[in-house]
């Protein structure tokens, strides 16, 4: 990261991968208790680029390649975090949570509660999400709802490099466990079909983006599109298409799932009266249902139409591009959902 030095202020852009690495490097320079461990985070720089440069600067003691033993090293992160360290640990694909979930949801997320707040577990679990590139049903899931459902861990999902850097810095400094879920299509790795809109101007100095605050990515009056991660970019494209029809859509980027900024969503829907939730995670029992419930429980009367969701169908993710692309959310589906909403 040493060569990402000064350009004229405000013009320098970063990919999310670089933004994560830069935030990590800055925190590692400032705090010797911060360290990184996971599979291929060392000399390789992370399969998704988010620890690139760290090994060269900080060495193998603080940027540790682990055995393929998620149960052991995530469990170890819990132990280290409880003993004064601030580990950043990587679960390479969120799909792999099945081999190590106990360390995550039974220990990382609960030890603070079990100690009545006396044991802090200040760790970051960073993990990649999302598909769209035919990696099949065990390497393409989002699972946002799965993690957000379980109490005791904060969950953040950035949609661009600016937020990724600020959320990563906030996550590392947080005294609670934070799950940092980054979507592969936003990483700036060309081979994953990079979303250009995620590579944005990113300040060089250290800063935080508050965990638990959504952002209005586009202001509008007619319909609220709520999403997170890659879905935000689908929404922005849909908003552009709707704009050509004379419809002024607002786009809310949740950025955090835990805590969830219900207020920003409610305020937007109170203004527009229409809600479409876009989620690449599975349709049922997840983020999309929770967002709709947050509005409906609060003020049903503000809704001019039944809310809709554009989410991943309740099926394992298929390999064949024809099937996978058919199942994924996209801008056209969001526009269609709006048209259906208006025809009822």
């Amino acid at each position: 990261m040493t060569n990402t030095t000064a350009t004229d202020s405000g013009s320098r852009k970063l990919t999310i991968a670089r933004a994560m690495a830069e935030a990590t490097a800055q925190e590692m320079r400032a705090d010797p208790s911060v360290f990184v461990m996971g599979e291929d985070v060392g000399p390789l720089g992370g399969v998704f680029g988010n620890t690139r440069g760290l090994y060269d600067e900080f060495g193998g003691e603080r940027v540790r390649d682990t055995p393929i033993s998620e149960t052991a090293f995530i469990g170890a992160a819990v132990g280290a975090a409880s003993d004064g360290m601030r580990p950043i640990v990587e679960l390479m694909f969120v799909d792999f949570f099945g081999v190590c979930m106990d360390a995550i949801y039974n220990m990382m997320a609960k030890n603070t509660y079990f100690s009545g707040g006396k044991v802090k577990v200040p760790m970051v679990l960073m993990t990649s999400t999302g598909g769209g590139y035919s990696d099949g049903g065990q390497h393409s899931q989002c699972l946002y709802g799965t993690f957000a459902h379980l109490p005791g861990m904060k969950v953040v999902v950035p949609s661009n490099a600016h937020d990724a850097k600020g959320l990563m810095t906030a996550a590392i400094r947080d005294d609670n466990p934070v799950v940092f879920m980054y979507h592969k299509s936003l990483q700036g790795m060309g081979w994953l079909g990079t979303e250009k809109g995620a590579t944005v101007a990113t300040p060089e100095q250290s800063y935080t983006v508050e965990i638990g605050k959504a952002a209005v990515a586009k202001i509008g009056q007619d319909v609220t599109l709520v999403s997170l991660g890659a879905g935000v970019h689908h929404c922005l494209r849909a908003a552009k298409a709707l704009g050509e029809e004379g419809v002024d859509a607002e786009v809310v980027d949740l950025r955090s799932l835990v805590p969830l900024d219900r207020e920003t969503v409610r305020a937007s829907v109170a203004k527009t009266g229409r809600l479409i939730v876009v989620d690449e995670d599975y349709h049922s029992f997840g983020v999309s249902g929770e967002i709709i419930a947050s509005v409906a429980e609060h003020d049903l009367a503000c809704l001019k139409a039944a809310p809709r969701r554009v989410a991943y169908p309740d099926i394992p993710i298929p390999f064949a591009p024809t099937m996978e692309q058919w199942a994924l959310p996209n801008a056209d589906k969001i526009v269609d959902a709006f048209h259906q909403m208006m025809s009822q």
Partner: protein, 328 residues
């Protein structure tokens, strides 16, 4: 490595304390649960895993540990907590679910956390090893003194977490000791029916670390094995795996009919109860006589009784306190 006379008496005192605690908990636990056994009833609701018979494992290891050392224990944690120096009043209050408990009653008997003496546990089998390895890593990285010890049952040696953590600890040469309390039973399944090797310490060779076996629930055998392993860890020579042949004198949990045990096994184990055996040994060694024993036992019991009174006299937190301390 042999214990000093002070260490011998310390170990005996901790064993007596732990046993009396378990016997009192057993009696209190059954209040409100007869004639119909309803786990939700009585002053101590929920599951209860007593440690009677396994005290040598706790005291023989913890005799070598200070408050700064880390211990991660199991779903059966009381004897280890006593030996590690967990605040007894606050622990008993936690077992009762009271406000004065270690977590105000949010954790309960399987989730004992006392940060002052670096003690924690998990109710999930095999999940003590990863956090202990991580605490050891923390000490190594920070250059801070202290080692970590993970306790586990023999059944946990068939969990993936066991094998992953042993490999990780060995490949990173961490200052950690893994202590298997082999009580021969995983609830109702006998060790020989579940485990492909007769002794789990043999598995240490697969992870390039020393494996040590302690037979016959021998207090001083545990002391020696643990002392050497902990010294190795302190000197930066890496992890050790110890398996202790211990005995579970109670059921897996309270209410266990123990019909799975072979005829006469329980009686045999009780005849080999490690506490009277160790008392006899101390008497024969001239460290203890009847009067001194009576005094020591009386003091230990009173300490337990005081903790129980403390717990009983404590209030519960208001129910809505359940919402607090999810995050700090």
């Amino acid at each position: 490595m042999q214990p000093t006379n002070d260490q011998r008496l310390w170990m005996y005192r901790q064993m007596v304390t732990s046993r009396h605690l378990e016997e009192r908990i057993e009696a209190l636990y059954m209040e409100g649960k007869t004639p119909v056994f309803n786990m939700a009833k009585g002053p101590i609701p929920g599951e209860m895993h007593l440690s009677n018979g396994q005290e040598p494992c706790a005291v023989g290891v913890c005799a070598h540990l200070d408050a700064e050392d880390v211990v991660v224990a199991t779903h059966r944690p009381h004897h280890i907590a006593v030996a590690k120096g967990v605040d007894l009043n606050a622990m008993v209050a936690e077992i009762f679910g009271k406000a004065s408990g270690l977590s105000g009653g949010r954790g309960g008997h399987m989730h004992i956390f006392d940060a002052d003496v670096n003690f924690s546990c998990s109710g999930i089998i095999g999940e003590s090893l990863g956090p202990a390895a991580g605490a050891a890593l923390s000490r190594k990285m920070q250059g801070k003194p202290g080692v970590a010890v993970a306790f586990l049952g023999e059944g946990a040696a068939n969990q993936g977490a066991f094998h992953e953590a042993l490999n990780l600890a060995a490949v990173w040469k961490l200052p950690v000791v893994f202590v298997i309390e082999d009580n021969a039973w995983g609830i109702s399944v006998a060790k020989q029916a579940s485990t492909a090797v007769p002794r789990n310490d043999l598995r240490a060779s697969a992870y390039n670390m020393p494996g040590v076996h302690v037979a016959d629930n021998d207090v001083e055998g545990v002391f020696t094995a643990a002392g050497e392993a902990i010294a190795r860890a302190r000197e930066g020579e890496g992890p050790t795996l110890i398996e202790i042949e211990t005995s579970r004198l109670a059921g897996h949990f309270m209410g266990d009919g123990e019909d799975y045990r072979p005829e006469g096994e329980k009686e045999g184990l009780q005849q080999r109860d490690p506490i009277p055996r160790y008392r006899q040994m101390l008497i024969e060694a001239g460290l203890l006589d009847e009067a001194a024993d009576t005094e020591l036992v009386g003091e230990a019991r009173e300490r337990v009784e005081a903790a129980i009174r403390f717990a009983q006299q404590s209030d519960f937190l208001p129910p809505e306190a359940a919402l607090e301390t999810v995050f700090v």
